[in-house]
Symmetry: C2
């Protein structure tokens, strides 16, 4: 492997000590994970049912029956991909309920639990997780197949409709959980289940088997991770197969569709790939230039591609990743680090089409963007990747969860008017208030797993360099040129002070610190003997490190007014305010109704006061800055000759975007119009 | 009847001499009407089929068979409301095709023809129309029923689903055509068909029959017109019945639905009216406050309500009309006189929700708004009504048709980007280029009938006053206090001169001339003996008029920059330019791609040059004014700290909105952002 590439440290080697993220991680541990276990068990009154334990137990009984030589007859074979019982209180014990990909909910929960257990032993939690692991293992069929939907609905149809049935997606999440569980506990139980399922898949698909690839990507990166964990090259090769068969003619999705159409007596469709852009299967991945289709899928695909570029040192794949990165981050990303401009297909829209109010910007897509960015950083440490990763994590990912960890956004628009959401079918996808749980509950456990594994995003290392991508207080056990080095990173955003100190160990090598564009440095104070150079937004400090060595710096975090490229029609003549990694927004609670009537001077950023305020149980920095409010007379004519707008002074209060909607329902707006002459 | 109320003059009493409208009316006569006859006969290659003559002939055979005592068996009874033959080249001769309301296409065409025949005899055209009339009469059943859909699909279900099957809608259009045909030709053939169908309806519904009302309004105003033409009060009473049963509990629409559900074995729905706002049947019409639901239907309902308010001198109904007018014109109308802010239900959106790019603004809805406005003027001559009527006629109504009369817009947005329309499902309803014909072809013949009957919008009169609402050159045969008075209205917009002259006759009375807000008067020059007063935007000249008497005035038509109320988020910090009754827009053809990058000073209106240009076969006044264009660097970052926008000077060219898209496909934009500091 290319020695320049880096990898995350083992999770227990990066212990977050940061106040802000410490609270979030503790919230996941103490509130979200227990809450989600209740959700998986369908014990939350008023929340949409998960059916996860129901399906697992039903599948386990079916598997046991088959193993006992009994003939298993599915309750029904209708093949609905989102089924609910007629009477929710009396589900059929042997029927599959929920979405076709429902298994993945529990896998994601388990992955989050594993990360938490890596960081801090917790016997009770481990016992709960073991229950889940045992349930999963019991639901695995003798040949390794593991998908409760098909086990309960008729195994004979398994693997026949990869396009829309999520077996390979569920497999991917299972594998991610299994590797995390192994790393947390040392146990092989779930890892073996994942390998057996992987082997079952590899017997069907691959260079020597059928052509085929996942409709919803994730298996690609999961297989690469399984390879990295086990060293078994067959998983890497299967991942490459899935990547390279994708988007080639004849499209395997078209062939699948045509088999179904034949059964239904319908004429076949053309077998060219080009109509499968929703699935990123419209052309070979190495030729892709534009991020398209379902945003989560595109981000997961990019993550798998970047893994392959790194693990195979494949420059063609790396170039494709860089093109897709550019398309995503420079043409199709919200300022909040969200992606997915349209609810139609939960998808990327055209370049620069980033509407604020109808945005999709799914929480999971921002999580996927962080996955992709981390992998690009592994390929090449460029501050651009880290800044986007940070923007996604601090804003859209966290916006997906309430400050108390008990309700969630799936969709994260940049402008919300609850009155509009209520009546307007064009905004049906936008919820003006976080929901307890979703029938399609991809986002809540996805937040749990990424926040719990934050350490994997803070730093990566290769043989001689430790890269620190996110300035988040933590203790880091690095290994430089084979020698262990315990470091302590302290960041006090409030006081504007930070330091990196060697706590233990001696090693020769480089520590590369990202220089965030939002931080105004007042210079580094270095211990003796350090050589310094700068590269792609990182300051690289090289030394034979000794205990007590330190890098210290003071900084300010000025409030900045950001503008979008003029090509972004929807942010035309508007600015948003940011401070540090946080994007700010205006809420009705502070600024009254009619937020579109506010006007700001970009220069007012300099006059912004930063204070702390309780935003719903948590005290956070808020901004107050002078602005205007356009007066809207009640009986003004709808159209009239233009006159200079009638404005009054207004003190505008802005709160961190991620923390909006924690004080009741109301309007919210990120982009604020610039005052006219 | 209240003597203050006014009525339009007979159509042949208002002969349009105006260049601009003369061209439009001639276009209808020479191009649109012949083209539409071809369309009704399905003889336009590449255009969606109408099936009108096909259905009429098939129904006539069915009726003849029944009259001959044969048992008629429908080809099928599937009840599809939009059916196409499997093989378009070989339709079944006895099957109904097209939409359930397809009959109305021909009725609208016939109405337009009748207006044209009123203005100018044309034997060939009359013969063609007579063919259509004969076809219609032949398709009428023995009991007066006349709807080819049910005649061909099974008469036993007639009148059982007024909510979504358009028998009463087709009846309304038949009746409008019949009255126009009678007035044009003196013939009773079609009028008798309409009366027989009306009688058939009245035997089923009404004070002594079943409760019920039209799902798509128009019968209300058509019945009032039939009453005005014939003096037969039963039609007025049936119209009032339809109006007053509407929106009352139990909802007749709910009862209809429940009868259908019962047949299908589904449980009944609640029978309250409140969920029928799409149909304006959610509450009694006298209690309505807000224009809601399908915009064309709402406008047609309002027109019927205003007719009833006038013909019954009903102040409660008039008050309801005024509330709905306010909601429409002061909260929900585009600056182009279009209505319908959302494609979901082709409907009114919330107050002030007037998006430019996703607008529906259906051509027919603007026509309906003109109907409503004319009727409000009959109730009370207020310039506000006339200005809105004029805005609709000169802009959205005419935008519906190409300058050559051969292609049509159904939807009239205020901002179009063809690249977006092509790929974005959220814009599926927006066509970036006019279409030859529509499967649901309500708009093209509706344009033909309103433009052909323009005289009915120019002036109305009561016993002692002639109101001139639209300053359109014409010869008017008025009757003041019983004495005929021939007037000539000349308006030369280019030269800024206008006059009203008595050509023949002597009469005592008042002539009320609207004072358009877009005209800057330089004073009236009056012949002797005139007394003048002003009321609600009209100058009222009273005299014992003699031949040669005249009112003359000079004026200018300054270019104005209009702004929307600050409550219209979508037009925030933007202006549009208007001159006279015309709203202007920018086209890509003149201004290049990226119209959202243009910036204007509202004051630049004063500097605008007015010149003539060929906009696609027709020379029209265009505007050129100084502005800016924001530079959008190709590789600019997506987000960056705000900087004053980089702008370059740009000469901005604007064309009349109605004439856009006559020089090929390209971007278009009405609202232009105001330059920042």
């Amino acid at each position: 492997m290319n020695e320049a590439y880096s990898a995350p440290l083992p999770l227990r080697s990066v212990r977050v000590t940061d106040d802000f993220w410490g609270r979030e991680m503790e919230l996941i541990r103490s509130a979200v994970i227990p809450y989600q276990w209740e959700a998986l068990n369908d014990r939350i009154p008023g929340a949409a049912k998960s059916w996860w334990t129901h399906n697992m137990r039903a599948a386990a009984r079916a598997v046991a029956a088959k193993k006992a030589g009994k003939i298993y007859t599915p309750v029904d074979r209708t093949g609905d991909i989102a089924r609910q019982p007629q009477d929710e209180a009396r589900p059929h014990p042997d029927a599959f309920y929920g979405w076709v990909f429902q298994d993945s909910d529990g896998y994601k929960w388990l992955e989050a639990v594993a990360y938490q257990l890596s960081l801090r032993p917790d016997e009770a939690l481990k016992a709960q997780a073991q229950q889940a692991v045992d349930m999963i293992c019991a639901a695995q069929e003798e040949d390794g197949y593991l998908d409760t939907y098909y086990t309960l609905n008729g195994r004979e149809n398994a693997f026949t409709y990869l396009k829309d049935h999520h077996e390979l997606y569920c497999f991917g999440h299972l594998t991610e959980a299994a590797v995390a569980w192994k790393q947390a506990t040392g146990q092989d139980d779930l890892l073996n289940a994942a390998r057996r399922f992987a082997a079952c898949i590899a017997r069907r698909f691959g260079p020597k088997g059928e052509r085929g690839c996942p409709g919803h990507e994730i298996a690609e990166m999961a297989l690469m991770r399984l390879y990295e964990e086990t060293g078994e090259e067959e998983w890497r090769d299967l991942s490459r197969f899935f990547l390279d068969v994708r988007g080639t003619d004849p499209s395997t999705f078209a062939l699948e569709e045509n088999r179904r159409r034949q059964v239904q007596g319908q004429p076949p469709l053309p077998v060219t790939a080009d109509r499968y852009s929703y699935y990123q299967a419209h052309r070979p991945v190495r030729q892709m230039k534009e991020a398209v289709g379902h945003a989560v899928r595109q981000m997961y695909l990019c993550s798998g591609m970047a893994d392959e570029a790194r693990l195979m040192d494949d420059p063609e794949m790396k170039a494709a990743c860089e093109r897709l990165w550019h398309s995503t981050a420079q043409e199709k990303m919200y300022v909040t680090g969200g992606v997915g401009g349209t609810h139609v297909g939960e998808a990327f829209s055209r370049p620069y089409d980033l509407p604020a109010d109808t945005a999709y910007s799914e929480t999971c897509a921002a999580i996927g963007l962080a996955f992709f960015a981390r992998r690009m950083l592994q390929l090449e440490p460029r501050a651009e990747y880290a800044e986007v990763m940070e923007r996604a994590l601090y804003n859209t990912v966290l916006s997906g969860m309430a400050l108390d960890g008990k309700s969630f956004f799936y969709v994260n628009p940049l402008e919300v008017d609850p009155a509009a959401c209520e009546s307007d079918e064009r905004l049906r996808h936008v919820k003006p208030i976080r929901q307890k749980w979703f029938g399609c509950a991809c986002c809540p456990p996805n937040i749990a797993r990424i926040v719990s594994s934050l350490g994997q995003y803070i730093a990566t290392q290769n043989r001689d360099t430790l890269y620190i991508h996110l300035l988040i207080g933590s203790e880091i056990d690095a290994v430089l040129n084979g020698a262990p080095l315990k470091l302590r990173l302290d960041v006090d955003m409030g006081a504007g002070k930070a330091s990196l100190t060697v706590a233990e160990g001696s090693a020769q090598g480089a520590i590369a610190l990202r220089e965030p564009s939002w931080m105004r440095f007042n210079g580094y104070q270095l211990c003796g003997g350090i050589s310094v150079r700068s590269s792609q937004g990182y300051s690289i400090f090289t030394k034979a490190w000794q205990p007590g060595d330190s890098i210290e710096w003071a900084f300010t975090m000025p409030v900045q007014a950001l503008a979008a490229s003029p090509l972004v029609k929807e942010a035309m003549d508007q600015v948003c305010f940011v401070r540090g990694p946080f994007v700010y927004c205006a809420e009705e609670k502070d600024n009254g109704k009619g937020l579109h009537l506010l006007r700001v001077r970009p220069e007012a950023a300099k006059e912004a006061a930063v204070t702390e305020a309780d935003l719903g149980g948590v005290s956070l920095p808020i901004l107050t800055l002078p602005g205007k409010r356009v007066k809207a007379a009640a009986n003004a004519p709808l159209y009239a000759p233009w006159q200079p707008p009638q404005e009054e002074d207004a003190a505008i209060t802005l709160v961190p975007y991620f923390a909006w909607n924690n004080r009741g329902m109301g309007e919210m707006r990120v982009w604020l119009p610039v005052e006219q002459r």
